[in-house]
């Protein structure tokens, strides 16, 4: 097993009496896709927020390439190569689709004190932005205000923004949420194309996507990781079945995908 790219060590977080993360320990190696599943309220999004730096853990460490980044603010983690997409599309509605992605390129360039030259004509921003839009199949919509995109397209844009930053680890918070058939199939293809180059930590309820993409699966319940391993092993784990209250007993038995999102 190669050394972990992103390593979570005993992360704890509670809100009053509610324990959101209880000694969570996980490893993500370069290029792999680790899916994080579990019932609603299991603490998946809270964990992602702590990894991205939006939320400070009470205890524990986050290591990125063996460097302790637990105390770095969110923007510094993003610059270090830790990309993130949000559960609900988080875009800049007043900007055009292209401008949204350009902003991501600009963040990576670390040159934002420009006062005079229009950003719109700067090929160092536009070229990588267009390439990222092409990668997710949004290049035809580049000039449109982002607010006018359909829901599925906004999710694609969200991904393009994250890709334009050329992250080495991508934290994906339910990229399929609210997507219909063709759109989600397309998203799966885009993500599959990333595997091998980018390490993916995928929080997802859509089990089609999870089994299509994941190399390993970790299952969370009530803030703890209760199972971790290859997809087939996790599927048959009794603790996992219990966590899902047996609601997907028959289907998992048949090897069918289940949507645990209720």
């Amino acid at each position: 097993m190669t050394a972990a790219l992103l390593s979570v060590r005993g992360l704890c977080k509670s809100f009053g009496a509610v324990v959101a993360s209880e000694a969570v320990t996980l490893d993500l190696t370069a290029g792999e896709c680790l899916a994080l599943i579990g019932p609603n309220g299991a603490g998946k999004s809270t964990l992602l927020a702590q990894l991205a730096g939006a939320l400070a853990p009470d205890a524990g460490q986050v290591l990125f390439e063996d460097r302790d980044i637990s105390r770095l603010p969110a923007h510094a983690r993003a610059l270090a190569g830790l990309g993130r997409t949000f559960q609900t599309s988080s875009i800049f509605p007043e900007f055009t689709v292209l401008q949204n992605v350009m902003l991501s390129v600009q963040a990576q360039s670390r040159r934002s004190f420009g006062l005079w030259r229009p950003a719109g004509g700067d090929v160092r921003l536009t070229a990588p932005a267009r390439a990222a839009l092409e990668a997710v199949g949004l290049d035809q919509r580049a000039g449109l205000p982002a607010a006018e995109l359909a829901h599925g397209e906004q999710r694609q844009l969200e991904l393009a923004m994250t890709l334009a930053a050329e992250p080495r680890v991508l934290l994906l918070d339910e990229p399929m949420a609210g997507m219909a058939g063709a759109d989600s199939q397309r998203m799966i293809e885009v993500l599959r194309g990333l595997k091998g180059r980018v390490a993916l930590l995928l929080v997802e309820h859509d089990m089609d996507a999870v089994f299509a993409l994941a190399d390993r699966i970790a299952v969370m319940s009530l803030g703890r990781v209760i199972a971790e391993g290859p997809p087939a092993a996790v599927r048959d784990d009794p603790a996992v079945r219990e966590a899902y209250l047996g609601e997907s007993e028959d289907q998992t038995g048949e090897g069918e995908a289940t949507d645990a999102a209720s």
Binding site: A76, L103, F113, P118, A119
Partner: protein
């Protein structure tokens, strides 16, 4: 395209406005239009942080005041030949516009840079109130300076000297103010389309996403806040020259409120809107003031109606009419 036409129209009309004074044989009109230009400068500077940055400052009078006092204090020392400070080194007064005005901008920018790190820790309604409170603090600070007139203010005896120009001539002073407004306007317009402007506007729409993209937001917001403070302070210095008088009223929260009103009335986030807003407010005051001394009784409800029914201000209305 309409926007460019309106910008040309605004500056063209302002450039021609001294003609009105000549036509109506009313020299006071030049002073009135100079007031429009100076308020427009302050409002354009406020629009940078308010309209583009989403940072609702209800304390921009602080920058107006500090600019006015910088120019006024230096001029008063130059007038009586005394020193502004003697320790650790001696600094005297100055009556040179090319010294006092840039210094006014510098103090305004520095003040903004000092206050911004504290103010930017907060957001939304807290930001509104903390900016207001800092302006009040400065207001009381200047009231308690008897050397510079305290509550009564500071009277200046002549406008600053400017190489090759006689600023004592109202029309010359007007055009110099207009050129400064044009220069700052150009800078601001370039800024909002440049990389810094993109960060500023992005932060207004979705600050959480900006951080996730990797922007250390506060340092960019601080930079724009300082540029805005410097512009407003320049307006303050010009106001001091226009009135030949500086008083704490310039720092009052009514003044801060008036600047916000000008930006909203004209159309925020447009830069040229505040120029229209300044003209509208000054002319409205003037016209209403000729009919009744209680003109605020009319202005108040007008502002309420603008807030309720006009989301995009005068500029939005003009652009809608023109593009029809």
């Amino acid at each position: 395209m309409t926007r460019v036409l309106l910008i040309a129209a605004a500056f063209g009309l302002l450039a021609l406005s001294p003609l009105a004074a000549w036509l109506f044989d009313d020299p006071f009109l030049v002073t009135l239009f100079t007031r429009v230009v100076i308020l427009a400068l302050a409002a354009v500077a406020l629009d940078l942080v308010l309209g583009y940055g989403g940072l609702v400052s209800l304390g921009h009078a602080a920058f107006l005041g500090i600019g006015a006092y910088t120019a006024g204090i230096l001029a008063s020392h130059a007038f009586d030949g005394s020193a502004f400070m003697t320790w650790p080194f001696e600094i005297g007064g100055s009556a040179q516009a090319l010294v006092t005005w840039p210094l006014a901008m510098l103090t305004g920018g520095l003040l903004a840079a000092v206050l911004a790190p504290i103010c930017l820790r907060t957001a939304g309604v807290h930001f509104i109130m903390i900016t207001l409170a800092f302006a009040q603090m400065l207001y009381y600070f200047f009231i308690s300076l008897p050397r510079y007139g305290g509550e009564d203010g500071l009277v200046l005896f002549a406008r600053a000297e400017f190489p090759g120009l006689d600023l004592g001539d109202d029309v010359t002073f007007f055009y110099l103010c207009l050129i400064l407004l044009g220069g700052y306007f150009l800078l601001a317009r370039r800024l909002v389309a440049a990389r810094l402007g993109m960060v500023l506007r992005g932060a207004k729409q979705n600050p959480g996403r900006m951080a996730a993209l990797g922007f250390p937001l506060r340092r960019y917001q601080l930079a724009v806040y300082a540029i805005s403070g410097a512009g407003t302070a320049l307006a303050g210095a010009l106001q001091a020259e226009l009135d030949l008088f500086v008083s704490p009223t310039l720092l009052s929260w009514h003044q801060s409120g008036e600047l916000v009103v000008i930006v909203l009335l004209g159309g925020m986030g447009t830069l040229i809107g505040p120029v229209f807003g300044a003209a509208a407010l000054v002319l409205l005051e003037e016209v209403l003031g000729r009919f009744t001394e209680h003109w605020m009784f009319v202005l108040g409800p007008i502002l309420v109606l603008v807030a309720l029914f006009s989301r995009r201000g005068l500029l939005g209305w003009l652009e809608a009419r023109l593009s029809r």
